[in-house]
């Protein structure tokens, strides 16, 4: 008989202890487990579905943390990103992606940004290859996140000229811009990382700056 285990066993849990400990985590409410899941890296969050049938529906309704930039191992394929955005019904907390999964498919990008799964998105990161000659145009659909974004990072992309005066992010706490152009004008390297939390109540507006033909963030 192998089942007998002494009480004085050392802390690391071992196979076969299920009978002794109870599964408290699965008793937590869906919203709480959703918060836990959204704090995991994207792949690990999705994998929680395989734990047990209790966990199967949770990932889809958990706050969406779709981070395709900092994944371990193979990147998340474009078709999978589209499917996740289609099937998710939780609130959106984080979405980031790079050109390596998107290619030059700006229609797909626009479709992603318009998906209801991203309503109220709080964190967005565009990262394209800065060595590419033509940096991709950011779709106008990005403007729908202006009031909800807390963190925005843009790398090697261009904003259409007519968005220049509409870029207004009242809740932004953290903004990073690198090799970003607006209306075809180069901004050079402009990184405004870690906007101080104390300035959070102030409003920041992106305005064009004539000197280096770029644009900067100013507090109103």
């Amino acid at each position: 008989m192998k089942g007998q285990q002494s009480d004085s066993e050392e802390p690391p849990p071992r196979r076969g202890r299920e009978a002794e400990g109870s599964d408290q985590i699965s008793l937590l409410p869906d919203e709480v487990l959703g918060s836990v899941i959204s704090l995991l890296p994207t792949k690990e969050g999705a994998r929680t579905q395989i734990l047990s049938s209790r966990w199967r529906p949770l990932w889809r309704s958990a706050p969406l943390n779709l981070d395709t930039l900092h994944t371990r191992g193979r990147s998340i394929p474009k078709a999978v990103v589209s499917r996740i955005l289609l099937e998710h019904w939780g609130v959106a907390c984080c979405f980031n992606f790079s050109r390596s999964i998107l290619g030059d498919d700006s229609d797909t990008l626009d479709g992603w940004l318009r998906s209801p799964a991203l309503d109220n998105l709080q964190e967005l990161e565009f990262s394209f290859d800065s060595l590419d000659s033509a940096s991709p145009l950011v779709p106008h659909s990005i403007l729908r996140f202006s009031s909800t974004l807390h963190v925005a990072k843009f790398n090697s992309c261009q904003f259409p000229e007519d968005t220049a005066h509409q870029l207004h992010f009242p809740n932004l706490e953290h903004l990073e811009l690198q090799t970003v152009t607006v209306g075809g004008w180069h901004t050079g390297y402009l990184t405004l990382a870690s906007v101080d939390h104390r300035t959070r109540t102030s409003r920041w507006r992106m305005v064009q700056e004539t000197q280096d033909r770029g644009f900067i963030l100013v507090r109103e």
Partner: protein
């Protein structure tokens, strides 16, 4: 609701006295009493804030029948520690708009606070925080649980949390295929 008619006036006086105090007394499911800073309780728990504002705080110990004494002690400990530590700007801003603000990393003392808890105590605390509408404490405890899951395989996670795999072989295979992208880690 039973009302003791003769005690109407005493009740009034008691309520006034209660309003003047800067602590509130909470009673666990097993009848133990705990004092907590009224300011911290109101700031950290939407449920306690509502009870304080609505005057439904009992001087002899407000009954919290859903919370055991160990969990309530941790809740009170957390509130009092919070009251004593100078809240950082991050915490102030997150308490202003906790519904929309993104998750903020736990502070060092919050990390230590949850790290010392046993498995059982941690889950009891999560449930208490959830019941009392303590958004920040819930964030901190959820963060701790996610740290316990991070980097582990599904099998390892099941072991740590005693989760029983109730899938059939066929179901497991189906999910594994659907989530093939999530299993490519190396």
């Amino acid at each position: 609701m039973e009302v003791d008619k003769g005690k109407g006036e005493a009740e009034e006086t008691r309520k006034v006295a209660e309003a003047d105090r800067d602590t509130v007394t909470l009673k666990s499911s097993d009848g133990k009493l705990f004092e907590v800073s009224k300011e911290a309780a109101a700031r950290l728990s939407t449920v306690l804030a509502g009870m304080i504002a609505g005057g439904s705080i009992d001087d002899n110990g407000t009954d919290l029948k859903q919370i055991g004494s160990e969990a309530l002690e941790n809740v009170v400990d957390y509130c009092n520690k919070h009251a004593n530590s100078i809240p950082s700007a991050a915490l102030i801003s997150s308490s202003i708009s906790f519904n929309t603000a993104p998750f903020k990393e736990p502070e060092e003392w919050e990390r230590k606070f949850v790290d010392r808890l046993s498995h059982d105590a941690l889950f009891d605390l999560v449930e208490a925080a959830n019941f009392l509408g303590m958004e920040r404490l819930l964030d901190v405890t959820c963060h701790k649980i996610s740290e316990m899951m991070k980097g582990k395989s599904p099998d390892q996670i099941r072991e740590v949390f005693n989760i029983k795999n109730d899938y059939t072989k066929e179901e497991l295979e189906e999910i594994r295929q659907e989530l093939a992208w999530a299993f490519y880690d190396d």
